[in-house]
Amino acid sequence: MALIELRNVVGGYGGAPILNGVNMAIEQSDIGVIVGPNGAGKSTTLKAIFGLLRVTGGTIEFGGRNIANSLPDTLVPMGLSFVPQEKNVFTTLTVEENLEMGAFTRRDDFRDTMDWVYQMFPVLAEKRRQPAGELSGGQRQMVAMGRALMSKPTLLMLDEPSAGLSPRYVIEIFETIMRVNKEGVGILMVEQNARQALAFASRGFVLANGQNRFTGTGAELIADPEVAKSFLGG
């Protein structure tokens, strides 16, 4: 059974629907990447999963339960985690407090998780007492991901994690994502750095006008000339 499965999801912000039947399935071992033109509904899809907008049709199954229209504070304990694209750290809180906030829903001792995060991002351990607002763009992205990992998710969703990062950080972030995935966290992310992302994705989804256009493994999508031309910039 898939970790998460979207079937014909329809939803929007109150006006005309933005998602007109989105389908996707991710296993816990998968890295899924959503690509597509601007305004296709990629971010909206992630928000729909995370309960940040109204889903009016279709089902979103996570761990066998339909979670459509559930709120984040119920989804996080279930193992779902989300890193928005912008403003994804608490700038006035220290790095460590940022991580603690990620573990807000947990009642158990989360110190080992924190150690795990610090192991994965050693820079953060150095800066644990520093306000997150003083970090560079790449470091912030790590804090954001660390925060999301503190809830010990089984599925981590990321919205354009590489946007605005210098090439070096793009590589670092992607490597981190792969590492996280190897630790047993399913990944679903939106990327405009599509070629690079699809290169290591096990599942790729091309979205346009709120609908799936192509689905396959990352390699398949890159190889598809039609996809390459219309969505990956040739």
Binding site: Y13, G36, P37, N38, G39, A40, K42, S43, T44, Q85, E86, E134, S136, G137, G138, E160, A163, G164, L165, S166, P167, R168, Y169, V170, I171, E172, F174, E175, M178, K182, Q192, A194, R195, Q196, A199, F200, K229, S230, F231, L232, G233, G234
Partner: protein, 260 residues
Amino acid sequence: MSSDLVIDVRNVSKRFGGLTAVNNCSLSVRRGSITGLIGPNGAGKSTLFNMVAGNIVPDGGSVIFDGVDVTGFKPHELFRAGMLRTFQIAHEFSNMTALENLMVVPGDQPGEYLGNAWFRPGLSKSRETEVRKKALDVIDFLKLGHVRNELAGNLSGGQKKLLELGRTMMVDAKVVLLDEVAAGVNKTLLNDLAANIERMNRELSYTFFVIEHDMDLIARLCDPVIVMAQGEKIAEGPMAEIRANPAIVEAYFGTPVEVA
């Protein structure tokens, strides 16, 4: 001095509290060029742009634009002098429609003055028709036609970036400063945009000054490329030359992704 330089930044510095974002930095942009500006996150690129475009007053040093010392000028004065910028984090007019976002850009609209609005409606009206036509053209070019009546605040991240870029097409500017317009924009559309930038540069002799992390785009468009790190300019030259510099490669590009 040399009218060859349209932007000449001399020894500017900017501190935020304890942090020196730009440190005694000098660089210049040749007229008619597409000059790239790259560097690690937090190098001070956007801060430099802000000082050139008048959004931040430098702590020291001066900015020469088209032979005039414009240090301390207000952004709108620089706009009138022919400088136009985009923002890294989209600064759309969120409660206005996409179309209006573009229509508001052209300067010197007679209808923007109360006197004309009250007493010379004809003048305002004819200009208004022109502006609308132009805005519609730009909207179509950016493939935003279907959302032209949507509030800009409701657009997707990439669409906002496109709108940001669209503004530069609404006026004839001498110099356009682009701050990471590619981030979040679909690559296919980006190809069209790059072609358009090249065309404007060639046919309308716009000068572009481009901050970008997308090396393909930089390589395609820019010559020369300036590299900044820790608030200072550390290198300048054609892209090939920059890529050949091992120090920069190590600090900035890193190594290619290995597929797991």
